[in-house]
Amino acid sequence: MKIHHALIITILITFIISLICVSLFPSVQAFMQYNTLWNGLHHSLNVLNANTVDTSNGLPQIDSNNVLVCIPYLQYSDNELAQLKDFVNSGGTLMVMDDFGYGNDILTYLGIDCRFSGTPLLDPLYCYKNQSFPEIMDFSHSVSRNVKEVVLNHATALLNIDNSLVIARSSASSYLDRNGSGSWDEGELKGPLPVAAKMRLGTGIIILVSDPSILLNSMLVKDDNLLFIKNLTGSDINSGEILVDTSHLIRDPMEITKTKLLAIKGILSQPCALLGIVSLLFIFVSIYILKMGGSIGRES
């Protein structure tokens, strides 16, 4: 075997192994649609009967009955923000779920004074296992149906918001750990602190939740998180569905490759591509047959 043959074979094998690995290896990135692990959205989307939507090429037409959920871990462009504003102004419901991302950019663009604190909300007493999982037990009438407690996961709080708009608050023992000491220090904001709010904007509705993690596979099943989300989005009353915008989530290289592979698979299933593949196969098989000449089927 000559060296260039060996190199080509090596590259081909590596490429094929990589493709197989990417296809078979489970998605581990947080908030990914195909991630079935604790930090994915796979089961949650099924339970909520929700779908994903990719807004990177513009916001598709969404019925005003539907709720568009944004988890802004990546920055929205001005064009995208303008589309979100149009969606809300045309009567749509936008739910911004953020903790340490770019949620404030959306709020600024929409002209809302409220802000995501961006500082960890800790509750050493009313919590699930430890203070990074604050338990919320104070709800307004609009979301309290069958909801007693909601568990957050590494959340933050909402600041500068009118009391009448708040629909969920943390307990009195919670606080914003500004200096990251893990305990309350003088000058740090103490609870109760708002963690969810709902307001009208034009003819639309804006819902703010200071922790997107409650949508995770492992969190949605905790306590009354599922009912809380249903009450928030009105999904049990409305005939609309929940659409999660996945285009502003952080993706690792494997996730990007996985998505691209799926896109290529989609393209290859198009009639034109299929025609091309069939033609190429046909040409290669014909060349092979011709190269072999009359020796096929004959004894040597």
């Binding site: 075997m1 000559k2 060296i3 060996a6 090596t10 590596t14 192994i17 990589s18 690995c21 290896f25 581990v28 990135q29 947080a30 604790w38 930090n39 037409q61 019925d63 005003s64 009955n65 903790d99 050493p124 007493l125 919590c127 699930y128 296992k129 430890n130 203070q131 990074s132 999982f133 338990e135 149906r145 407690e149 568990v151 996961n153 590494h154 307990s171 009195a172 023992s173 305990s183 003819t203 995770l216 492992s218 905790k222 009105g234 009353i237 409305n238 005939s239 609309g240 952080i250 690792d252 290289p253 494997m254 996730e255 009639p271 034109c272 025609l275 046909f282 014909s286 047959i289 000449g293």
Partner: protein, 656 residues
């Protein structure tokens, strides 16, 4: 450069190791702004527990029972060590009880003070007994609180830490609050004991007595009732004294006794829709009587209050729509009471007054929902106002405000679409509130969009002209989107799969297939053979003939069938050409075919009967062919001419 097996092995090892590293490295990309709740460490906070304890005790001291009740409500969600759970619950319940008892003691102290001012010593005495009992219970609750704090202190080992530490400071705050509560209870005990001493000094005054009676034991609201009685002190009737008539403890009427100590009055039964009203008369010593007579409160007499009640049942439409009218259906059920002709009702939406109306016993009240009513459940409250003997009645019902979802019924949709070509799509839009008219219907097929507007009966029709594409055939999605004009209707979308056949593309593809599959291989084959011939020098490889029976018969069969025949431009080809003509003649005349294991000579012999005398000519030709096939003999021009002659002769003889 030729590579050995070792080199190839090395490449495989490198690829495997690279793959392993790639796989092992992947989970590192997982984000960390969340934590797995199932594997998270359990951490309890003593500081926050003691802060809660101190906060609760502060609420007890501030007599803020609501705060304590809130703490008790959320206590099941507190993250406390299992060993402290029971004492934690005891602490909160004891704090709740203590707060309520302190409030009671407060009230007892102020009540006794008031009663003493009004010279109501008998009542004061019974109040003291109750207050002392409550004080004892309060002290027991404080003991439970002390115990719970001690258990938590042991669990978090407060005694072993420095006094400046957060947990120690929090624990000290709890102990300070416990001490303040202890002091508070001691203070109550002292006050009550002082007041008790004062009573015993004042209880030597002459006691007064008052009686009460009413003319009827039951009355409707609004009726008139007479009340009367006698006021006396130590057997002496007290005339011209002011008597207060109390209804359920509140002053309602004032009358005076006559000169013989009798009093009489009448009052209208208030419109209080309660089952009983307790009536008492009170003599309160005034002016010169203050130091001479004790206060007199009559026993209580009960007046049964009668009024008409109704049960109001409500119903709403299954779904209501923002901006549209909906109805509330109600029914007043009066039971055995007379039915009111009309009642005034107030309807409120989410506790905001909405409509007022006068309605009969069974009614259907239309309400117009504002266009901006939010989607979701709303509370409708209907209050039937009190009217004379009719008591007020209130009922609630939920109203679900939704958007109507139209159903898209396609009445004409093709199973298959030919491209180029066109097809018609017809359908109807119906929602739960009737046909959807004037809705914009957008039909998208193969990247082409056609718009239509629905008619008054909800029907729509559109013609789709198919445009060329690159596909062959397959299922293509036809998407229909309807956007209703009314705010109460929602957007609807539906998609159908239509088998699409690109006729032109299919034809072209078929031609390509024919070209690639049939014509091209043939052409290429000829060219390849010609090229090969040009390239290869004409060498003759002489090999020893294989003269085994099977080999001989195989060569013969090949020769006859023409497989692997040589070019007829060569001498051998020309000779065999003429021999094949002869063999085909023999096949036709004899009807026999050359068998797989048969030699040429055997075949000629078997067909001898049919060929007759010509058989000799054929045998002669066969011998020439055998010589060429099975010996190194090279075909000469004479062989060819001889063969040609013999073949022509055989054809003439056999009449072909």
């Amino acid at each position: 450069m030729i590579l050995g097996r070792d080199f190839f092995k090395k490449i495989v090892i490198i690829v495997s190791i690279t793959s392993c590293f790639t796989l092992a490295g992947l989970p590192v990309f997982a984000a960390s702004s969340q934590e797995n709740p199932d594997t998270a460490a359990v951490v309890f906070s003593g500081v926050s527990l003691f802060q809660l304890y101190a906060g609760t005790l502060d609420s007890v001291l501030a007599k803020n029972q609501q705060n304590i009740e809130t703490d008790i409500q959320v206590s099941p969600f507190a993250n406390v060590p299992p060993a402290v759970e029971d004492s934690f619950n005891n602490f909160l319940s004891s704090a709740g009880n203590l707060c309520s008892l302190i409030l009671g003691l407060d009230s007892s102290v102020s009540d006794t003070k008031l009663l003493l001012q009004e010279s109501r010593y008998t009542e004061t005495a019974s109040l003291y007994t109750e207050a002392f009992t409550n004080l004892a219970i309060a002290e027991e609750n404080l003991d439970s609180i002390k115990q719970a704090a001690a258990i938590a202190g042991n669990q978090f080992m407060v005694t072993g830490v420095s006094a400046d530490s957060g947990i120690s400071v929090a624990y000290t705050a709890v102990q300070d609050d416990i001490q303040r509560l202890n002091d508070l209870l001691s203070l109550y005990r002292t006050i009550l004991q002082e007041q008790q001493t004062e009573i015993s000094n004042q209880s030597l005054l002459p006691s007064s007595d008052i009686t009460i009676s009413i003319d009827q034991s039951e009355a409707y609201v609004g009726d008139t009732v007479s009340v009367g009685g006698i006021l006396s002190a130590n057997g002496q009737l007290l005339g011209n004294r002011r008597i207060e008539i109390l209804l359920d403890g509140s002053l309602y009427l004032t009358v005076n006794t006559d000169s013989l100590g009798h009093y009489l009055g009448s009052f209208q039964v208030p419109y209080w829709y309660v089952s009983l009203i307790n009536i008492q008369s009170l003599y309160f010593p005034q002016a010169g009587d203050v130091s001479n007579y004790d206060l007199a409160l009559s026993p209580s007499v009960s007046l049964k209050i009668l009024f008409y009640t109704a049960v109001l049942t409500l119903q709403t439409m299954t779904n209501a729509y923002s901006g549209r009218d909906t109805s509330v259906i109600g029914q007043f059920n009066y039971g055995s009471a007379p039915v009111a002709d009309e009642r005034n009702i107030e309807i409120s939406l989410d506790n905001a007054p909405f409509v007022e109306s006068e309605v009969p016993a069974a009614f259907t009240q239309k309400i117009s929902l504002p266009a901006d009513t939010a989607i979701g459940n709303h509370l409708i409250t209907v209050s039937g106002l009190a009217d004379g003997r009719y008591s007020p009645v209130v009922a609630n019902v939920n109203l679900a405000v939704v958007k109507a979802v139209p159903v898209l019924l396609t009445t004409k949709l093709p199973f298959a679409a030919l491209i180029p070509g066109s097809f018609n799509v017809r359908g109807k839009l119906i929602s739960s509130i009737g046909p959807v008219s004037q809705a914009l219907v957008t039909i998208t097929f193969g990247g082409k969009q056609v718009n239509a507007v629905s008619n008054n009966d909800g029907t729509f029709s559109a013609v789709i002209r198919n445009s060329m594409g690159f596909g062959l055939f397959g299922s293509q999605s036809l998407q229909i989107t309807a956007t209703p004009m009314e705010p109460w209707q929602t957007f609807v979308t539906a998609s159908h799969n239509v088998l699409t056949v690109y006729v032109v593309n299919c034809s072209v593809f078929f031609l390509i297939l024919v070209f690639l599959g049939i014509i091209l291989p043939r052409r290429l084959k000829f060219r390849i053979v010609a090229m090969a011939k040009k390239k290869l020098p004409q060498t003759v490889v002489v090999t020893a003939p294989d003269l085994s029976a099977s080999a001989v018969s195989s060569i013969a069969a090949d020769l006859v069938a023409g497989i692997g025949r040589r070019d007829e431009s060569t001498p051998v080809g020309r000779l065999f050409y003429w021999y094949r003509i002869v063999i085909r003649l023999v096949q036709k005349v004899s009807g026999l075919l050359l068998k797989p294991n048969q030699t040429l000579r055997e075949y000629i012999s078997d067909s001898g009967q049919a060929t007759g005398s010509t058989g000799k000519i054929i045998l002669e030709f066969t011998q020439i062919v055998e010589k060429v096939l099975y010996s190194p003999h090279q075909v000469t021009e004479d062989d060819i001419k001889n063969g040609q002659r013999l073949a022509r002769k055989a054809r003439e003889n056999l009449g072909k």
